[in-house]
Assembly symmetry: C2
Homo-oligomer: 872 residues x 2
């Protein structure tokens, strides 16, 4: 008979998710392990695919299989669809391979018409129930299948209640309901031009098609886009004989979790409603009872339910999210699936289940979603205090965490207040590198402008400080030192609180709770460390960040940017002198003034990291980034360093670039100004030698040359560095091991990695730039149209969020292969922001990298993702 497109529940099992959908597979599984499941069958996801391929029709071969299964179901239940003696009523539900709760359509009570409703009334002895079910069915079917707005039916229903002077639905009598049904049918006729279908077979056909159609309704498409679910999976359709929780006081319906999805505690968690159908629980009209009260109401059912719940958890070896119905005292299981849970619950459940012997450590590690554990790493508002807090505004959740403090409107004021011991919130229209000191001093940052990748957002994430950016309803007067939200004005020194995870701003102080990194979380992390082979380093530019990262388990620094050090207030004048130098001698003079600062920067970092590896990148950004841009700032600088204003203007214009991203930066600076690299090499080695002497530890610096495109370029700069390093070691009478490597961030470097590897002891993939160059757009400019690309479904994921494995990934794999050809023991890492993205980390693991490097607060995420990649 060809391919099987329809499966009775007893024919399937839980491993057939892709074919039967999650719901269908679990109904089959529960049926086969002997649990009380109303009988039924599943139409596979392949039918959905064929439905769309065949111009939204269901093939005759499939229809035949559906008919056969319906017949079988009728035989097993002894009921008949449309049968007057013992009518079969069914539910028709969607069920995709990946759960998309509430996104697709469901029809209950299908099979009712003027004939069968009479029998149902008779058999149940409850005419009101029968007609109310019929009324509900018409309404639901019309909404879902015929696409007539539910509100039009509500209007009829409410009009009848009003006419009768009823307050509650249950006051409606069977006669009222019959009149409503007639009005409903008229409405359908008026809206669609045809009569409401009363033939149950027709109802079934139409409902099945409607479920397939709902796969591509707008909200389902959006949900899949947001959750990265492929459009091609399709949904299955489950046809199941109805059981009724609304057959009076011995009936009911409920949902429950085998453990708490909120904190993970091992106790049944859920709620139920007596005399109700499932939709009533979801609708929230009546307040359900906690599941524990089931024991009083239905002690036998409760006992049975606890037994089944235990069987299901033992069987699935995971916390279950169950739906059940009690029909006249008999328990039926309608659904089970792995329950969604908070990060905290996921951690606790995973650890508990290992302790209970239910799962092994590998499985436990797989059970925690790395992208969620960020929640656990930042302070949060005390929920009691939050309830009382007054929200002032919302912006973008630019950097997670919660904080309160007194507001200041300039970096200087913020830093000064912080020195006096105040907790500070820095409030700025937008931030620039010159605000760094203020950001360091602040507990949190609020900006009126700028997106998720604005300066404030990027720096705050790096520092692990909470930040709300792009809060456009905040009117900030930096001169007058006030911020206004609507009609509320706050001045310098006033308290506000920020929730960077949600993007919210609150009035006054809202108390926070610190994250707990030990306990079950620590256990999971320890297991992750045992499993993973990929090392996790951090991107850190100062001892503070380095210390945070080490606390989070970083095994080294993969990227220490040296330019951030150049921006600090006490250095920037000399940086500018260096840039404005007319001769090499002048430049060297200015660099000599910077040398002691850089050396101290590196010493601070080495002291934190001890013998863990530290990769230091030589100066990267184009020099004009260090110069003032506005006329006023240029005048100020002119006075400050005694260089004529005109000269500054000319020099600034000279350094202007059309495409700074594609300009004079990275190792190109080192080629034209080797003295900068010499100063940095000297600072790196002097610091290493001094810390080695002071601590007795072997400091082994890794010097990274950025933006290399060709071997000869790397060779040139490497020679400058190595000559200086050797000179310093000879001068200081101390020899240390050190390494020189490069970033692979230019497509050409990846393409010629075999040649580059002749000079480079290590590669660090700079996937931010590599993504920009490979796709040919800059992150600063692409924001505008990438949104449009996502909306139009041209992109499935934003390549700046998750590594583009097809394109950029091809270059990475090519570079790995070519690099190893030349230098089999080459050390390979990634230091772009993708280093903290779980999907990208899995890619890095599979590509054979040695480590990923990410911002300190993503280190635990990376450790877990690396472990999951190893398990896969």
């Amino acid at each position: 008979m060809g391919k099987q497109y329809v499966f009775a529940f007893e024919e399937g099992n839980k491993d057939q998710r892709n074919l039967l959908g999650g719901k269908g597979a679990n109904l089959a599984e529960m049926t086969n392990i002997g649990l009380p499941v109303p009988q039924g069958f599943t139409i596979t996801t392949e039918v959905c695919t064929r439905y769309y391929e065949e111009n939204k029709t269901i093939g005759a071969d499939i229809q035949e299989q559906i008919a056969k299964n319906l017949e079988l179901l009728e035989k097993k239940t002894g009921k008949k669809l449309g049968g007057v003696e013992n009518p079969l009523l069914v539910s028709v539900r969607s069920g995709a391979p990946i759960s998309m709760p509430g996104m697709m359509d469901t029809v209950l009570n299908l099979g009712l018409n003027h004939d069968t409703v009479v029998t149902v009334a008779k058999l149940t002895g409850n005419e009101r129930f029968a007609y109310d079910s019929f009324r509900r069915f018409i309404q639901m079917f019309s909404d879902v299948v015929l696409e007539i707005s539910k509100s039009k039916f509500d209007a009829i229903f409410d009009a009848k209640k009003k006419e009768k002077g009823y307050e509650f639905d249950y006051e409606l009598q069977p006669e009222d309901l019959k009149l409503i049904i007639e009005d409903y049918k008229k409405l359908v006729k008026a809206e669609k031009g045809f009569d409401f279908p009363l033939d149950p077979k027709v109802q079934l056909d139409m409902a099945i098609e409607a479920v397939f159609r709902s796969w591509n309704n707008d909200r389902a498409i959006l949900y899949r886009k947001i959750n990265g679910i492929s459009d091609s999976l399709g949904t299955a359709v489950n046809v199941q004989s109805m059981v009724f929780g609304n057959m009076g006081e011995t009936s009911g319906t409920g949902v429950a979790f085998t453990r708490s999805p909120s904190d993970g505690e091992a106790r049944i968690f859920g709620e139920f409603l007596v005399n109700a159908q499932g939709e009533d629980v979801v609708a929230g009209i009546r307040t359900p009872q906690p599941i524990s009260e089931l024991e009083q109401s239905f002690p036998e059912v409760y006992k049975d339910f606890m037994r089944i719940s235990n069987i299901l958890e033992q069987h699935y070896k995971d916390m279950q999210d169950m739906e059940f119905t009690v029909e006249r005292g008999k328990l039926y299981m309608l659904q089970t699936r792995n329950g969604k849970r908070t990060a905290a619950a996921a951690v606790k459940i995973a650890v508990d289940m290992v302790n209970e012997g239910l799962i092994d450590k590998k499985t436990a590690v797989k059970r925690v979603d790395p992208s969620m554990i960020g929640q656990l790493l930042h302070p949060t508002f005390d929920s009691a205090e939050l309830k009382k807090a007054r929200k002032l505004a919302s912006g973008l959740p630019a950097s997670p965490g919660a904080a309160f403090g007194q507001i200041y409107f300039s970096a200087e004021d913020a830093a000064a207040a912080n020195e006096q011991g105040q907790k500070v919130i820095l409030v700025r229209t937008e931030t620039s590198p010159e605000d760094l000191a203020g950001m360091v001093a602040a507990e949190g940052i609020l900006t009126a402008r700028g997106g998720m990748t604005s300066h404030a957002a990027v720096v705050a994430r790096g520092m692990g400080k909470c930040c709300v950016s792009g809060c456009s309803s905040a009117v900030i007067d930096e001169e007058g030192k006030t911020v206004t939200f609507g009609s509320d004005k706050y001045k310098e020194g006033d308290f506000i609180s920020l929730d960077g995870t949600a993007g919210d701003v609150y009035e006054g102080k809202v108390g926070t709770i610190d994250p707990e990194l030990s306990g079950d979380f620590g256990t999971i992390m320890q297991w992750a460390d045992e499993i993973r082979t990929l090392k996790v380093r951090t991107n850190a530019d100062n001892p503070r960040d380095a210390a945070v990262a080490v606390k989070f388990g970083a095994e080294g620094i993969g990227l220490c940017r040296t330019e951030h050090m150049f921006f600090e207030e006490d250095r920037i004048p000399n940086v500018r002198r260096m840039i404005l130098a007319d001769t090499v001698e002048e430049r060297v003079e200015a660099l000599n003034l910077l040398l002691p600062y850089q050396k101290e920067d590196f010493k601070g970092i080495y002291k934190v990291m001890g013998e863990l590896p530290v990769t230091i990148r030589l100066l990267d950004p184009p020099l004009h980034e260090f110069l003032p841009q506005t006329d006023e700032d240029i005048r100020h600088l002119s006075e400050q360093i005694g260089v004529p204003y005109e000269k500054l203007v000319v020099k600034t214009a000279e350094l202007h670039e059309f495409n700074p991203m594609l300009g004079h930066r990275g190792c190109r600076l080192a080629v034209t100004y080797p003295e900068i690299s010499e100063m940095q090499a000297e600072a790196i080695m002097m610091a290493a030698i001094e810390v080695s002497k002071e601590t007795g530890k072997d400091i082994e610096p890794e010097i990274m040359i950025p933006l290399v495109g060709i071997e000869s370029e790397l060779a040139y700069v490497k020679k400058v560095v190595v000559d200086k390093v050797e000179e310093v070691m000879a001068r200081e009478g101390k020899t240390l091991k050190y390494h020189v490597g490069t970033m692979i961030e230019i497509p050409r470097a990846a393409l010629t990695a075999d040649e580059i590897a002749k000079e480079a002891e290590f590669f660090s993939f700079g996937t931010n730039d590599l993504t920009q160059m490979t796709w040919g757009y800059s992150r600063d400019d692409a924001g505008k149209f990438i949104k449009e690309y996502m909306n139009k479904k041209i992109y499935e994921v934003d390549p700046f969020q998750s590594l583009d494995q097809t394109g950029v990934g091809k270059l990475v794999k090519m570079a790995v292969e070519l690099g190893k050809q030349t230098r089999p023991d080459i050390k390979l890492g990634i230091c772009g922001e993708h280093g903290g993205d779980p999907a990208s980390i899995e890619f890095c693991h599979n590509a054979g990298l040695n480590y990923v490097s990410c911002s300190p607060y993503r280190v635990p995420i990376a450790r877990l993702a690396a472990a999951q990649a190893a398990v896969k």
Copy 2:
């Protein structure tokens, strides 16, 4: 005895250039075909390599071989190095595999000392000759080997002349020369601290080493860099017994070409000096006689020389550049090599030699350097007029050709003057797209600012108009309509002349001569067309350029940019309206106004091209390029189109991009504003339909979607285009063939070309952008540091000049392979500026492309280069 490092002349042949150097190989060849060559031996280039590898020493095994060959030479000549009875004197000359004339060192008369000089005096009966030779030898050896400045010897020599009251060198007597020699020796001792080496064996050793050292002198390194010669080739050393052209009136020396290197005529061409050594000819102190006069002076020698010259040309089958010496009436050949020649000579000689049956057509085609024939395609100044002309200034040779005209300082004035029939030179500080009409009207363009890739330069090259850019000594007052060169001021309407090939500006009218594209040139081109398999198309945006290109042999248009059409004066207001539109409706309205213009543009081009293929690229640049940038211009536009100034400022700021090269352009515009592509698709098809109807020809447009990075993006835009095309064809009741393809200019497109090819019927490699993205720098910004890279020898060639075959080429090859996997008959071309570069064209041929596309004036170059690639 191991490897042979030293070859007697009779042991080698002309095919051993790499081993023996050009000179050595040809001396060997001439020796073996029985020509009178003074005997000697060659030390191979491998010795040079070993010399540098072994810390600048010559291995004992090599020294032994040199000694053996010297012994052999002494035996054959019957002379002995340092022998008092019959002393052997030798020359020691460099000779690299590729000729580097004058770049490396030579020592003549080696073997002279106080003993041998006496014998030479005796044997020649010419004491003055002998001591003058000794004097010259000390001076040359000291200069070349000991590195003592020649001027110090000249000072001694001149002092002696002055002391004696002599006017001419030849007045110096043997006794004077002996005193000079003593002073020379004292100078050497004072400078070096050791005595001048008088042992001829020591002299020889030192001279050989000096030649190897000279391989890496500064001027040799520079020459290799400029000429793209590898540093690793090394030089050979030729040790040859001396013959003397300065042994009196029956001796002499000369250089000659077998045909004219200037115009290619088949007559001997050269000059000689009686009683002189080779260096005297080069030094230019005495004026040599034309070679024809040799017949009178030395009829026997002349006859012999003509015979040998004929033998050499027949033997080498190419025009020869020969050096010879006559010693006491006997002719010696000292060198022969293929002669350098002008483009015109190369063409004539190649055609003549085919006609003479000396070479075949393939060889003829190989003999003309494609990079030189640009000379033949542009007007040049009449040389007689040029001699009388007064040069005013020099700038950059931005676009070749010569022109005179009356100067105008704005596009409007230039266009108006041209309409009145004037020949116009447009003089601007710099040009922008708004000057286009003035550039079209002008014979040539002069700008004070801007480099070789400035707007003026790029557009002028495209139009084939001469242009001198970056002429910083021209002080231009655009308001006052004057240009000042030093103290000379010129006003509107004055004549100047421009030489865009040399970059010079002349006063007044200098007459020009038009290029000759028929005759021998036409013949070579025809042969090239017979041989090549690669098609040659052109980049042309208007009927005028298209017509020029067809005249030059273009076989289609590979790139028709549509944005140039947007800049024209009558369209730009509507382009701006379109950009500033707030709604899709407003935008469509503005686009509808542009549609007729675009349609006419395309019709004009189709009419010129007939059934030749035309690839039209959809709008590419970011929209802000079309908006005014200065405050004044924004105010002007505001008045012009009636949009408030403030709105324009906001919109301009909104469209601002940090990295326009990596911004919202190419197909990204088509994704966000599909209506632009719809208008263009409509214009393309309407034009094709109308021209098809009018001319009866089958117009088959190729629509090219730029800047694609992912298949889904191309699919989206293609659908927009195809839907519109089909709609237009249905509406017009006419069906045409058409093709939709894409540019491969984003690295990701090359990496995923197999996927892209599912949607693209053709690929056109946009190697300008591909080079920028692959290397990670923009051409606008890289100028500054690429120079430094060339200077520091980090780059051998500028990747914007010649395709980077290792990096960018790898992407091209990958895309070709992947594209063909998906679509075996995919059409492949290149339309970046590399399409006109001979080395890049060879790469394209080898990579399996179907065509190259270049600017009209490079079409003949491309045809020739394509033929040469096919021959190789």
